[in-house]
């Protein structure tokens, strides 16, 4: 039976049957006999000394198995690790898994209760008596850097966590060269990643085998295994991490958290299975946050719209401790500051501040949305300053098609791109001219239509190991079973991205089997060779490539066998549909099952060939990939209510070659909504005393279905030369591209009110005030 080509087809996802029938196993679905539940005692104070902890009442409660504090656990469990501490002036705090002397943010864990069910565990948490000596807290990053501010760490000089500088070209010369210079402050508010499945961990220790199994809702099972093994003092090969079904991550599960080590430790110590499932409130308090930068931009321009210089002076609020990648995130902002423009003179001066808040770290886009937001807002500010169409300023400064690979002012090498084609297509799809006409007409009627553009470029496919804090390569193994079915072991950890389908498509076409005969195994460190994980839009671009390279090795061997079996020359063997045939003689052929059966039988082998049919590959990418696109948002802002009605959303994205268009669209839809969430609705707010005011979905506005119109998607295809498939990665493009488009649209709508900039989120109240003569709050 001929196998239809599956790459490029809208193939239904193979992971879905279990998910739509309630048959998948997420962490909280695991129930081992005798399993205990763990709950954490967390600080209600943003900053306090712990005077004493009395666990006696909690311990005495029926059904409580154990209550442990930092004093019990910290001698045996190492601190929470950070992989990115190589910065000038860095001050790296100790980060115990359970706070012992001092708490530094609301939600910081300081004791753990183990009980026979989740209700008893919670009861016991309420019985733990902690005597706190509250201290003044600092929750504002700029205030934290002021001399004389309350300090989080007595032994540090100040709350400055580190500094980082980047300069390309000569920014001062760029300023001199400019006809005009403007400056603008931009705030990237703190966001909560909020996967709908919060974090969760289960652990079980088999004393006989000295084997710890740790189930965690994580994006990085292998890195987690290494770190937990080190933290709790087990040999790494005695720790098996399983990331079962994972209900979304968006970067917040690209981390190593205190709870993961504590659960591992407790399972080992108590020799019984334990489980902890994070509540949504805990998720708001003690799962990493994203963004939280506040910076001033100075921009020089020529009268024709040419940008001569860009200076970004920024304070990043890193919260109270370093999580896995905390310090690295704002540096990505610096690298991507030029966006898709030829800005030769560019600089970033970064100061990171400790505050009494949860740590920031990677949240979808991780540092790049901030860059794109700045540069895409800036081109609009330049247009506004010069009275030009923002479109023209973009065209004027675009990196041109034939200059790829293009070296940016920040030292990156953009792989490939053609920014004009995506822009032109989007303009056409949106009917930009028509929209501008309509806008003018409506303004005459006192209605405020806004049109916003974002022509983003982003950095994906992470990445060359030299540029990554914890390795950037990925691994893949392709095994053909004796019956010709294929099993793939991949080091990435899909949790919604659909690689159980797209990888199967690639293998199906590559080896000549049916998609349904390919199984993709991931997320179990005992089954899968070491890998890096899923983040930074790398799953397919890097993990897929590792698999393809392994598959090519398998295929080479298959051809060798086929040639031997068919008594032909290896160079004459080619794959035709599902058979390996002799060129020009297609009746003479064998299937993959024929070959694999032969290879596993072990007799009559071709010369110098080992039996079996399995190969691995570790792929180190030579560069990042740089997807791009144009998003156009059309909004109307109601003067009476300040509400933003998104009327149209047109996106043209270029993510290189596409394996499954349906999955790519899904990634872009979801990304757009998260980007719009930042622009319009979402914000984690801490008050002055460090209390979280947005700790539930009631107070933190998550984007809902009825907030949006139907998105109008299209694409262009500019393959990357970085990997053989030409795929760039699509996980973060939507989020990165969409935020500035919508903000630019709203500000465009409010132009008649003399508005040049508004900080996110663009809440109705803020807009109403601006439109009705009040001050923006």
């Amino acid at each position: 039976m001929p196998v239809a080509k599956s790459v490029g087809a809208r193939i239904k996802r193979r992971e879905d049957p279990r998910l739509i029938q309630g048959l998948a196993t997420y962490v909280d679905d695991l129930q081992l006999p005798g399993m205990c539940y763990v709950a954490f005692v967390r600080s209600p104070h943003a900053h306090a000394k712990i005077q004493s902890i009395d666990t006696s009442a909690a311990s005495a409660l029926d059904g409580v198995v154990s209550v442990v504090t930092g004093a019990d656990v910290n001698p045996d469990v190492g601190g929470v690790p950070c992989a990115a501490t190589d910065f000038p002036n860095v001050q790296v705090p100790e980060h115990p898994v359970l706070a012992e002397d001092k708490v530094r943010f609301v939600g910081e864990p300081l004791a753990a209760v183990v009980a026979v069910d989740r209700y008893v565990a919670q009861d016991a948490v309420d019985l733990v008596e902690v005597d706190y000596d509250p201290l003044e807290a600092v929750s504002d990053a700029e205030a934290a850097l002021e001399p004389g501010s309350v300090k989080l760490y007595d032994h540090f000089d100040s709350n400055q966590a580190f500094t980082w500088d980047l300069e390309g070209g000569d920014v001062d010369a760029g300023l001199k060269e400019a006809d005009r210079v403007i400056s603008q402050r931009f705030i990237h508010q703190r966001l909560a990643p909020n996967p709908i499945e919060p974090r969760g961990v289960a652990a079980d220790f088999n004393a006989g085998d000295e084997q710890l199994t740790l189930w965690s809702s994580t994006q990085i099972p292998h890195i987690l295994r290494t770190q937990v093994a080190l933290m709790i003092g087990l040999n790494e090969n005695r720790v098996r991490v399983i990331a079962p079904e994972v209900g979304g991550g968006f970067g917040c599960k690209l981390n190593v958290y205190a709870e993961e080590a504590v659960l591992g430790h407790l399972a080992k110590k108590l020799e019984r299975p334990v489980k902890w499932m994070e509540s949504r409130r805990e998720n708001f308090l003690h799962t990493i946050h994203g963004r939280d930068q506040l910076g001033d931009v100075e921009i020089g321009m020529k009268n024709d719209g040419t940008i001569t210089t860009l200076k970004y002076n920024v304070v990043a609020d890193v919260g109270s401790y370093f999580q896995l990648l905390t310090p690295a995130i704002p540096t990505l902002t610096g690298l991507m500051l030029c966006g898709c423009y030829q800005i030769r003179n560019v600089s970033m001066h970064l100061r990171a501040a400790f505050t009494n808040k949860m740590s920031t770290d990677a949240y979808r886009g991780a540092g790049r949305p901030e860059a794109t937001y700045i540069v895409e807002r800036i081109v609009d500010c330049v247009a506004d300053e010069l009275g030009l169409d923002p479109l023209e300023v973009r065209r004027k400064n675009f990196i041109v098609k034939d200059s790829f690979p293009y070296e940016t002012g920040t030292g990156l090498s953009y792989d490939s791109g053609d920014y004009t084609i995506a822009l032109d297509k989007a303009l056409k799809n949106a009917d930009y001219e028509g929209l501008r006409k309509k806008q003018a007409e409506l303004r005459d009627e006192g209605r405020y239509l806004g049109i916003g553009l974002s022509t983003y470029a982003e950095i994906c496919g992470m990445g060359p190991s030299a540029a990554m804090p914890a390795g950037g390569w990925e691994s893949g193994t392709v095994r053909v079973d004796p019956t010709g079915k294929v099993t793939v072991l991949t080091g990435i950890k899909p949790h919604g991205q659909g690689q159980e389908t797209t990888f199967a498509q690639l293998i199906a076409d590559g080896l000549g089997v049916d998609v349904d005969d390919v199984k993709i195994v991931h997320g179990d460190t005992d089954s899968v060779q070491y890998g890096t994980g899923t983040f930074g839009s790398r799953g397919t671009a890097v993990g897929g490539t590792a698999m393809i390279m392994a598959m090519e090795k398998v295929k080479k061997k298959v051809k060798k066998f086929a040639a031997h079996m068919l008594e032909a020359n290896i160079d004459d063997i080619e794959l035709e549909d599902d058979r390996y045939v002799v060129k020009g003689n297609p009746e003479r052929g064998v299937s993959l099952a024929d070959v694999s059966g032969h290879a596993h039988r072990g007799i009559d082998m071709p010369e110098d060939t080992e039996p079996g049919l399995a190969e691995s590959h570790f792929f180190e990418p030579s560069n990042f990939t740089y997807p791009f696109g144009t998003h156009i948002a059309v909004v109307e802002v109601d003067k009476d209510t300040g509400e933003v009605d998104i009327q149209r959303y047109v996106a043209v994205d270029d993510v290189g070659n596409i394996i499954n268009p349906m999955i790519v669209e899904g990634q872009i839809h979801g990304g757009i909504v998260q980007g719009l969430g930042q622009a319009l609705y979402e914000e984690v707010i801490y008050d002055e005393s460090g209390q979280v005011l947005t700790g539930t979905f009631m107070d933190y506005t998550m984007p809902k279905a009825h907030f949006f119109p139907r998105f109008e998607l299209d694409n262009t295809v500019t393959p990357t030369p970085v990997n053989p498939m030409g795929v760039k990665g699509v996980g973060e493009a939507g989020t990165i591209g969409s935020t500035p488009a919508i903000v630019n649209a709203v500000i465009d709508a409010l132009k008649p009110f003399g508005v040049r900039h508004i900080d996110m989120p663009l809440r109705p109240e803020k807009l109403w005030r601006l439109m009705n003569g009040g001050e923006s709050s």
């Binding site: 679905d29 081992l32 989740r118």
Partner: protein, 216 residues
């Protein structure tokens, strides 16, 4: 026992027949191959704590709940404070119903109570006494997917799948009430369910697909 599909053989822990919900049979999820060892070690310790807790709880701490889940009537003795979602997940072992916020705001825990979509994280199990519940596991008909399930699969209405069971239950109720929903009806109809992954558009397509199929 309702249909639990591929979940590993349902096996009650021995000697736990009692009136306490902690002592209800414990079911195994799909476990890795090292499971027999885990099971053996865990069991001995488990029973002793459970017994301790059971003996200290007086009879009247627990109330009897008679409930029909996915067509099967069941009787459970639970603490009055037991949430319906925990009865469904931890006691009955139907883990397709998820918990995303415990505050009625995300919809991941949506089940049908006498045909109405409700959030099982903020209902007590005792409130469901004498009522009928349908969970995602009970939606398909003898192995045949419900049109909404089919729509979600056809139209890529899910990514991580965590919101999906709740979203499907809500959509199923929506289509019971409105055979020809417009896109706006659907968007409004699922506003109590949050999806962080899909951006909703493919979910809308999925519900439209199901509506069409159900009309045919």
């Amino acid at each position: 026992m309702g249909k639990i599909g591929r979940i590993f053989p349902l096996e009650p822990v021995p000697d736990t027949k009692s009136a306490c919900h902690n002592c209800e049979p414990v079911y195994f999820g799909r476990l890795p191959s090292c499971e027999p060892n885990l099971r053996r070690i865990a069991q001995s310790q488990a029973s002793s704590d459970r017994v301790k807790r059971q003996t200290s709880a007086t009879e009247d701490t627990f109330v009897k709940v008679e409930i029909t889940i996915n067509g099967e009537s069941r009787v459970h003795n639970v603490e009055p404070r037991t949430l319906l979602v925990h009865l469904i997940r931890d006691v009955v072992g139907l883990t397709g119903t998820h918990v995303g916020c415990e505050t009625s705001l995300c919809g991941a825990c949506t089940v049908l109570l006498n045909g109405d979509a409700v959030k099982s994280c903020t209902l007590l199990a005792v409130q469901a006494d004498g009522q009928e519940i349908t969970t995602i596991e009970g939606l398909s008909d003898d192995g045949e997917l419900h049109p909404v399930q089919e729509g979600f699969w056809e139209c890529h209405g899910l990514q991580c799948g965590f919101c999906t069971p709740g979203m499907i239950m809500t959509a199923a109720q929506l289509l019971e009430r409105n055979k020809r929903p417009t896109e706006a009806d659907i968007r409004k109809g699922i506003e109590g369910n949050i999806c962080r992954c899909t951006g909703y558009q493919h979910i809308i397509d999925a519900v439209q697909y199901a509506a069409k199929k159900m009309r045919a």
